[in-house]
């Protein structure tokens, strides 16, 4: 039957109401608790879901239109990058290590975030929240896909890219990011929102993506710059969702404050540990550096983070518990971590190298109180060992932190000459930690973290310590993907191909 359409076009507000809020059906033949069984057990009290604000008022139909347009642009540039030998335009093949770590540790996190938002979108009863989570779930899977596609071109030419999914699941240095997301995904919907929506997207994302994307731009990596831009417009929405969620919880009931504060403490520290990877990339892996990790922390941690927590103080929120320990670690963490990555480089699907004199002078200038005092002597000695034909390899493997799963490379907050030893006993088993922050997280929920699958102990449990079998299992090709950059196939190929592209030899 023909119907006269009264209005050709809906107003934005009306459209949003019809296509979003109007979808919030009241269940009639099932109790609401049965439909949303996971919304109460974390202890967060919500009195009125309609108070959830959605400042973007984006409806699904416009969302598809925007995203499709971005995809078209993205793939046009990625194609051009491949056709124009983009893999030869990077400053130096050393830059690839940063990309490999990103693909192995961070891109799978985008996929994990997708799964998490798809789940919590179903678990939250409020319709505004559901729609926002649904969009973010789709954004995140798009981020994972565009990153994998963008970097797949490098996989045609260089080592260390081919087995990123196995590396994510099985290798050791990725488990800091993997366990971060596993922890969030096995938490309730509200904690997930704090972990990813707030801590990761709002507090930490600038420290991860901004340095990484500017690093890419500085080093001629147009593929990465492109996926960075394509994701950037989503980030504004994600950050708003994260901030909105935390304000919503705090405004709904005063009893929510201590729970939210506990999550902030936890997820700040977990995120800070993931940033350890970023700090090594900024200080050691970029042939052309953007800024030091310390400088990035000043801008995005101290200034931006400080302003945020000042803003949240009116709800009773204080800065995360680990904030001071983090500040004390800033001038040490990249050096401590990089020394580890170098000495265990037989087990990394990327290359590392001994910093040159020029690198070390830059590090002294950026870290005047710590680099020459603590770290230069170690690198000098490592260089001596390499020159003597006995390059330093630490086959001792490492004690790992039960919570963040990193090797415990960090020192006491107030004594950089002393390893941080923290241990506890729970139900007759010993557990070790890298820091007070990680131990607190364990102590709050030991039944969760006793189950941690720790890569290095597992090598002895499952493979009897057979390193060759372990390399096969994690997809690492010995002599190709791992070890020192100097003498690697990546170095050789890049120099040769670039030579062919830029000269007549």
């Amino acid at each position: 039957m023909d119907m006269k359409v009264a209005k050709k076009k809906l107003g934005l507000k009306e459209k949003y109401r019809l296509m979003t809020r109007d979808l919030g059906w009241e269940p009639t033949y099932r109790a609401k608790d049965e439909v949303f069984p996971y919304v109460n057990y974390e202890g967060i009290k919500v009195h009125d879901w309609d108070k959830w604000e959605d400042p973007f008022r984006l409806t699904m139909d416009s969302y598809w239109k925007y995203q499709a347009e971005k995809e078209r642009k993205f793939y046009a540039i990625i194609d051009a990058h491949a056709q124009n030998n983009g893999h030869l335009n990077i400053t130096d093949a050393r830059y690839l290590s940063a990309l490999k770590i990103f693909l192995q540790a961070i891109s799978p996190g985008e996929y994990a975030a997708h799964k998490g938002f798809a789940r919590v979108g179903r678990e939250f009863p409020g319709v505004g929240t559901q729609v926002a989570c649904q969009m973010q779930a789709i954004d995140e899977i798009r981020h994972a896909q565009t990153q994998i596609h963008a970097l797949s071109n490098y996989n045609k030419y260089y080592d260390g890219f081919h087995a990123f999914a196995d590396a994510r699941d099985r290798i050791w240095y990725t488990s800091v990011a993997r366990s971060f997301f596993d922890d969030a995904m096995s938490a309730g919907p509200f904690e997930f929102m704090i972990a990813i929506g707030f801590s990761f997207e709002y507090v930490l994302t600038n420290l991860l993506f901004v340095p990484f994307m500017s690093g890419a731009a500085y080093n001629g990596d147009m593929a990465t710059v492109t996926f960075g831009f394509s994701a950037q417009s989503d980030e504004a929405r994600h950050m708003t969702l994260g901030l909105e969620c935390i304000k919503f919880m705090l405004e709904q009931d005063p009893d929510n404050l201590p729970i939210v504060q506990g999550w902030l403490d936890k997820w700040f520290w977990r995120g800070f540990r993931v940033l350890g990877l970023v700090s090594t990339m900024m200080d050691y892996m970029l042939p052309k550096r953007v800024m030091s990790w310390r400088e990035a922390w000043e801008i995005y941690g101290v200034e931006n983070g400080g302003a945020l927590f000042k803003d949240l103080a009116r709800y009773g929120i204080r800065p995360p518990k680990g904030w001071d320990d983090a500040e004390k670690a800033i001038d040490h963490m990249s050096h401590q971590f990089m020394l580890g990555l170098y000495q265990w480089s037989f087990g990394t699907s990327f290359h590392s190298w001994i910093p040159s004199d020029e690198d070390m002078d830059w590090l002294s200038a950026k870290y005047p109180t710590t680099f020459d005092k603590y770290y230069r002597p170690r690198w000098d000695h490592i260089r001596k060992l390499a020159a003597a034909g006995t390059p330093f390899k630490n086959f001792g493997l490492a004690k790992l932190c039960q919570t963040c799963q990193l090797p415990v490379v960090f020192t006491e907050p107030d004594d950089a000459t002393m390893s941080c030893h923290r241990e506890t006993e729970y139900k007759g088993e010993k557990y070790h930690f890298c820091s007070d922050g990680c131990q607190h997280i364990f102590d709050n929920e030991p039944e969760k973290y006793v189950q941690a699958w720790l890569p290095m102990p597992s090598l002895f449990q499952e493979l009897n310590g057979d390193i060759g079998a372990w390399m096969n299992w994690v997809g690492l090709r010995d002599g190709e993907d791992n070890g020192d950059f100097v003498g690697s196939r990546d170095q050789r190929n890049f120099d040769q191909w670039r030579g062919m592209a830029t000269s007549n030899l």
Partner: protein
């Protein structure tokens, strides 16, 4: 509550000693010798004598440090779970009370080649 969950929840530890094929883990580190980025993870039969641990894997692992040759093993100060402790070199790990996942630390006062210039 030991975990936030919708009902009673008991976790199963992944790295119990029975999963290590008759061996156990021991962590060993050398205070103020941070050329080694983290404590060493050793996986040994519990019947290994402390002397075998020291003269075997531990001596080999510490070699790259410039102080390694100067270690007088009879004078090393030991800690277990961060408490001063004296091992019996000729007795086994078990008889020395070194349990699965125990952390042992060694101290060598006076040796600090790569340590910070104070």
């Amino acid at each position: 509550m030991t975990v936030t969950a919708i009902k009673e929840y008991v976790g199963v530890p992944r790295d119990r000693v029975e999963n290590f094929n008759g061996k156990q883990l021991v962590y060993v580190s050398w205070d103020h010798h941070l050329l080694f980025a983290a404590p060493f993870l050793l996986c040994l039969p519990p019947q290994t004598s402390f002397r075998e641990l020291v003269e075997g894997p531990l001596s080999a692992l510490v070699q790259p440090d410039p102080d390694a040759a100067a270690i007088d093993w009879t004078k090393v100060e030991w800690l277990k779970s961060n408490q001063p402790w004296t091992p019996d070199f000729d007795r086994s790990l078990v008889d020395n009370g070194i349990g699965h996942k125990d952390q042992i630390r060694m101290r060598t006062p006076g040796l600090a080649s790569l340590s910070a210039a104070a």
